[in-house]
């Protein structure tokens, strides 16, 4: 899983535990897989910036 999603999941689970909602963990883990897929999706889908280093005509 992407490191940013892993960090998000850790914070979310810690907060859920602190609030007495440990049963949220499996739902958050499933959501994390979906968030990973969304963040990893083609930028043409999500509008996110492409890494200029990934461009086919990137200057050396």
């Amino acid at each position: 899983m992407r490191p940013d999603v892993t960090r998000w999941l850790a914070r979310a689970c810690a907060d859920a535990d602190a609030r007495g909602l440990a049963e949220l963990r499996p739902l958050l883990e499933a959501l994390a897989r979906s968030t990973h897929a969304l963040r990893d999706a083609d930028p043409d889908l999500t509008g996110s910036a492409r890494d200029p280093e990934d461009a086919p005509d990137a200057a050396e």
């Binding site: 909602l21 949220l24 959501l31 979906s34 969304l38 963040r39």
Partner: protein
């Protein structure tokens, strides 16, 4: 002599207009049906019997005086208990304190203007946040074809009210499929109009970007009449689009949408396609680009929008929610704004993808539900030898068109070996709800021998 209820809204309307059928007698027959079956099936939360009979008497007097309003005049209808109706609580299927509206939602007001008789508020999956109508404070809703199975959701009570002859049109809501899913599970017609058509004002929101309202009924013509009544109160027979002429140009989105289907859905959908081709329609395989990202986009829009609406209620009444609904609402509070924005961009991309898939076509043709109605309380279901989450499967084929806003309609296409209904779905061009109704009428006509048109009453 007991009344033999008409089989369809259109049939009932013709008899009422001719004064061959009393709106009071028809309403009483529907109320008797509710009284006989609701304790077991839990289709209704609130039954407004006294008001309904008073409204029916007034309708009868108006019609006798020559003031006939149209096809919904004197016709019993039900309204999902998410929609405000003046003088009745809006429970949303929850133990959270109900809304107490002093005025009708616009779609309810339009139904009244059309002369419809509101017999009650139907049961639902709590706050519309589910697909099985088994998380509700008012008793699990049961499928009339098999009491141990779900009627689908979230508009489960609405679907049951049609199947059981408790009314002739039902108002549902649809955020990820909540009209089309129970329509497929119960063998009736359910229309999610174009997102721009019907007002959701004074309807408890689930996800304001994805929410739609629409009619559920026994036939396409019935659904069309109810749709026009909800739209502007004018439910004239001459507004019902006639069945589209031959040939229809239909596209089946094969990748993703046909990947996971139970054997009966696959068989019945294939047979329906063959019947339509034999009838002279042209059907080709098409692709909706990036459809495989539908569920991810849907989750990252629907969850935070639902959590936004419920934030104050969750702080005050957390213990009054069904546990599963509460957890899903809490989950949405953790979604980051950047992911919501990603998903909203995804929405625009998927909308263009569906537009492109529809180019040159009258409609997309696909199943509406990949499985039959699941057992009540089931968390997983077996599909093609694999265990799949029920919720994900129920939403799989419908939620894209909530994201994109295209009009979509569920039609029955037969019953599986388990005796349970299966449905297909037609998706039209944006802004093209009336054209979609014409296409659906043609498909219904050509599939008629296969469709489940049993009167369960």
């Amino acid at each position: 002599m007991p009344l033999t209820p008409p089989n369809s809204l259109r049939e009932a309307a013709a008899l009422v207009e001719q004064r061959a059928l009393s709106p009071v007698a028809l309403t009483r027959a529907c109320l008797d049906r509710i009284a006989a079956r609701n304790a077991e099936l839990r289709a209704f939360v609130t039954i407004t019997a006294e008001q309904a009979l008073a409204d029916a008497a007034r309708a009868e007097a108006e019609i006798a005086a020559g003031r006939y309003r149209g096809a919904l005049h004197g016709i019993p209808v039900s309204i999902k208990d998410l929609v405000d109706v003046a003088g009745t609580p809006t429970t949303s299927g929850s133990a959270v304190p109900a809304r107490r509206p002093d005025h009708d939602a616009p779609i309810a007001a339009n139904l009244r203007r059309a002369g419809a008789i509101i017999v009650g508020k139907t049961n639902l999956h709590e706050f519309a946040f589910g697909t099985t109508s088994d998380e509700t404070a008012f008793g699990v809703v049961r499928n009339p074809y098999d009491r141990e199975r779900s009627p689908g959701g979230s508009s489960g009570g609405a679907a049951v009210s049609i199947v059981e002859g408790m009314c002739y049109a039902a108002v549902g809501s649809d955020t990820g499929g909540s009209i089309r899913i129970p329509s497929a599970a119960c063998g009736i017609v359910g229309l999610k109009p174009d997102v721009s058509d019907l007002s959701t004002e004074d309807v408890v929101p689930l996800s304001t970007t994805l929410d739609h309202v629409g009619p559920m009924a026994r036939t396409v013509a019935d659904a069309a009449l109810a749709y026009f009544a909800m739209l502007d109160g004018e439910a004239r027979i001459d507004r019902v689009p006639p069945a589209a002429g031959l040939p229809l140009w239909l596209g089946v989105p094969v990748p993703y949408f046909l990947d996971k289907l139970d054997a009966d859905v696959r068989r019945l959908f294939g047979e329906a396609r063959a019947v339509l081709e034999a009838a002279g329609h042209s059907i080709a395989d098409v692709v909706v680009q990036r459809a495989e990202r539908t569920a991810d986009v849907y989750a990252h829009i629907s969850l935070p929008e639902a959590s936004w609406y419920h934030a104050t209620l969750l702080e005050r009444y957390a213990d009054k929610y069904s546990p599963g609904v509460r957890l899903r609402l809490e989950m949405g509070r953790y979604i980051l704004a950047e992911d919501y924005v990603r998903a909203m961009h995804g929405r625009a991309t998927l909308r263009r993808a569906v537009d492109r898939a529809l180019e040159g076509l009258d409609a997309l043709l696909l199943p509406s539900l990949p499985i039959g109605a699941p057992p009540i309380g089931a968390a997983t279901v077996e599909v093609d030898g694999a265990r799949e989450p029920v919720r994900a499967m129920m939403l799989r084929l419908t939620q894209l068109f909530n994201i994109t806003g295209h009009p979509a309609i569920a039609l029955p296409c037969g019953r599986g070996h388990d005796g349970m209904p299966r449905g297909l779905q037609l998706v039209g061009h944006r802004g093209g709800t009336e054209r979609l109704l014409a296409v659906a009428a043609a498909v219904e006509r050509d599939l008629q021998p296969r469709m489940n048109t049993d009167s369960h009453g």
